[in-house]
């Protein structure tokens, strides 16, 4: 009987239409809520800043630094120095490409948050060209940018505007096992062929499973590794006007032939073509490799007894070069900048945060966490301190090479480099044909192609 009474309700067309309208309205509401989630969260933060006694809350998008709580340490110190500004940390993905994809989706969609985001040093051209980051040089005086170490500000610029405030710098280092070299009575290598022969010797003598591990996978990190060999061989990848590739040269051939020979000679395991930073580092800290090419943080990781079996046995040196070149070899520049969302509603607070993060206190905190400070004076203080983490002492003695990130099409240029270099490393194509394919793909990328 219940059913019947219900069915009469259902059959009333006006009421039915009404119910449909309600369902449609509800789903529309749900949808609109999905679409504007970022806006609503930002409006919430705006109202928070407006009400409680002039306290502004800004959202900081940052991927994890070193250990857990490092970002919070900086935030706590900042908030203590600036009681009128609260920082809300948004933990960004650790994968740089995923990180960028999420940022681009949010900012191009008009989201007002995150207000400040930590981004890779290779992003300024792409973000600047597409209006996804605020040109900081319009809001900060030239004196603000004068304090940074040479090269960092030009690396953060695109078409005359500075888009990123350098937060911490990074570069490639050679990590080696002091104990193994002592056992085999070998010196710390200063040239690439020397490193190769020492690695082969150590493996042949059965002292260690692998000689030299680095980042040979088909991804951005391989572009970094390749740039180091190429620069030490005297080569470049693009011309100064970013109009044509220069990778297919004698230097390119020398660099890539050597990289491939690391694998064929047995100095590096074949699996190096599948390694990214974590795999290379874990091989080294497990005691399974004599040499490692990695970034600054690998020092701290290698000295952490919880995860490392080689605590106290590791030495750090600048990367080697090729014979006939003045040493040391080139290290690729990495690191992270702080960028400001062009849609931010709290520009003054954002700039205050940027200034504090490039101040002596924050930069010293980062240095103590074994990140290379970007502010020249702080960097020099660490370089001359004997108690500073070794990479920070050595950093001042290295030569640096940037990636060709001055073009908005850098991502496609880099893909052309790493995919073809990786193919040559795995032996699926010859070194010469890899370079010629890379060259033509880079030219197409520079022209805005796929």
């Amino acid at each position: 009987m219940k059913i019947h009474s219900k069915s009469t309700v259902k059959r009333n067309p006006r009421k039915r239409a009404g119910k449909y309208a309600i369902t449609i309205a509800t789903s529309a509401l749900v949808l609109s809520a999905c679409g504007s989630s970022s806006t609503s969260s930002s409006s919430a933060s705006t109202s928070a800043s407006g009400t409680s006694g002039g306290i502004t809350t800004i959202n900081w998008w940052a991927s994890p630094l070193g250990g857990a709580g490092d970002r919070q340490k900086l935030i706590t110190a900042f908030e203590a120095a600036n009681p009128n500004i609260k920082i809300k940390l948004i933990s960004a993905p650790t994968n740089t490409d995923t990180n960028r994809a999420q940022l681009i989706t949010q900012i191009s969609g008009g989201a007002t948050t995150p207000d400040v985001f930590m981004g890779d040093v290779i992003w300024p051209a792409q973000f600047g060209a597409h209006g996804l980051a605020l040109p900081l040089s319009k809001y900060l005086p030239a004196s603000y940018f004068a304090k940074f170490a040479p090269g960092l500000v030009s690396g953060a610029s695109y078409k005359g505007q500075v888009y990123g405030s350098p937060l911490f710098s990074d570069q490639g280092f050679l990590y080696y096992r002091k104990d193994l070299l002592a056992k085999a009575n070998l010196p710390v290598p200063t040239t690439w062929p020397q490193l190769e022969s020492e690695a082969v010797t150590l493996v042949k003598d059965g002292l260690v499973q692998n000689g030299f591990v680095w980042e040979g996978n088909s991804y951005e990190g391989l572009t970094c590794n390749f740039m180091e060999y190429l620069a030490s061989a005297g080569g470049t990848v693009v011309n100064s006007g970013y109009s044509a590739s220069t990778i297919n040269s004698a230097a390119g051939l020398k660099a890539l032939t050597f990289m491939r020979s690391l694998i064929t000679s047995g100095a590096s395991p074949a699996s190096v073509t599948t390694m990214q930073e974590p795999q290379a580092e874990s091989t080294f800290v497990a005691g399974n490799s004599a040499f490692l090419r990695n970034w600054t943080y690998a020092w701290a990781d290698s000295q952490n007894p919880a995860t490392s079996k080689v605590v106290g046995k590791v030495g750090v040196a600048p990367l080697p070069t090729f014979p006939g070149q003045s040493g040391p070899g080139y290290s690729n520049i990495g690191g992270w900048n702080l960028y400001v969302n062009p849609h931010t509603k709290h520009l003054q607070a954002d700039l205050t945060f940027l200034k504090w993060m490039s101040g002596t206190a924050a930069q010293t905190t980062l240095g103590n966490l074994s990140f290379i400070p970007t502010v020249e004076s702080v960097r020099q203080a660490f370089a001359s301190s004997t108690t500073a983490p070794p990479p920070l002492q050595i950093a001042a003695k290295t030569k640096l090479v940037p990636r060709p990130s001055g073009t908005p099409n850098y991502a496609a240029v880099s893909q052309a480099i790493y995919a073809n270099v990786n193919a040559a490393l795995s032996g699926s194509t010859s070194v010469a044909s890899a370079l010629s394919t890379a060259s033509s793909q880079m030219n197409s990328a520079l022209g805005g192609g796929l």
């Binding site: 529309a28 597409h130 088909s218 073509t273 599948t274 795999q279 099409n409 699926s428």
Partner: protein
């Protein structure tokens, strides 16, 4: 509600025609109720599938520029498709995607049908077996791809240990193109064969038993029975399984994204990976959308022609 209602109608002594009428009306009411419940989700599905598909078609035919304020479309152009046709990466990704789809779907259908035939003969324990079989399929691809990466890992991977134990050296599976493509296919076949098996099993269980009895009386061997009776009758079911699999395999993204990142080189870069790179790494939304549209168009043509061929086969079999 339905149960109560049937009890009521059965308990009431009415004529057969009247009870049928009542049941029909209730069917209509239930259908209406169903529509009402599904309207919100249908609307959502429409908005999240039909809108993005049309929008990417528009993007692929426009001069797209991305700015801090979203896309701006600068007029109609075929330039994005011309970029594709002249791009060796796109041609490779297309060839790879087609090759990968054909091989993995073929193997999955053969294995899945064999498993289904076996399962159908299981008298007891079919339930637990089914549950066990469905485990790989129920694991999210991102997770299973991570598991396979451990298996195929180049310095401590399980597969390498097995190869080295039987004296086959220490191959790096994900380090060169052919082994990497095979590894990726194995991971996919492991995951989706159960899906095919379950669909085919459902079809097998529905087959009429009398045909098989008659064939047995006529002295047909198992082999003949399979090819002359089971397979022709199963064709529509297999067709559905194949269709579903082609649609999924052609758009493969998660497996290569996690397992190989599209490498070594670009050897496992599917159309979906290429489109992702173009759009979200290079910010080339025009050419990137063209990649997506080309994949959608091709899979649509492929499926429609497959259905057409299949239909005529079914008709000729009757």
């Amino acid at each position: 509600m339905v149960a109560t209602e049937t009890k009521v109608t059965e308990a009431t002594p009415t004529s057969k025609a009247a009870s049928k009428k009542l049941r029909d009306r209730n069917q209509i009411l239930l259908a209406r109720l169903g529509w009402r419940f599904t309207t919100p989700s249908l609307l959502v599905v429409g908005l999240v599938t039909i809108f993005p598909i049309s929008f990417s078609v528009i993007l692929s035919l426009s001069n797209v520029t991305l700015s801090g304020n979203g896309f701006s479309l600068g007029g109609f152009t075929f330039n994005n498709f011309s970029i594709l046709i002249h791009s060796s990466e796109w041609r490779y990704a297309l060839a790879f995607t087609i090759f990968y789809t054909i091989v993995s779907v073929l193997v999955e259908v053969i294995l899945g049908t064999m498993i289904a035939l076996l399962m159908e003969r299981l008298s007891g324990g079919r339930g637990p077996m089914m549950a066990l079989l469905l485990l790989p399929w129920s694991i999210i691809t991102v997770i299973s791809a991570e598991l396979w990466q451990y298996i195929f890992q180049g310095s401590y991977g399980v597969m390498q240990q097995i190869f080295s134990a039987v004296g086959l050296g220490k191959p790096v599976f994900l380090g060169s193109p052919t082994p990497a493509i095979i590894s990726m296919m194995i991971a996919d076949i492991w995951k989706t064969t159960p899906f095919v098996a379950v669909i085919v099993l459902a079809g097998l269980v529905m087959l009429p038993g009398d045909v098989f009895e008659a064939a047995a009386v006529d002295g047909c061997s198992g082999w003949v029975m399979f090819w002359k009776i089971t397979f022709p009758l199963l064709r529509p079911t297999i067709a559905i399984a194949v269709l579903f699999r082609i649609l999924q395999a052609f758009g493969i993204f998660d497996l290569p994204f996690v397992l190989t990142g599209g490498g070594p080189g670009t050897s496992t870069t599917s159309l979906a990976i290429l489109g992702y790179k173009a759009m979200f790494q290079n910010l080339q939304f025009g050419p990137g959308s063209a990649v997506a549209v080309s994949a959608t168009g091709l899979v649509l043509i492929g499926c429609l022609s497959f259905l057409k061929v299949f239909k005529s086969q079914v008709n000729s079999g009757e």
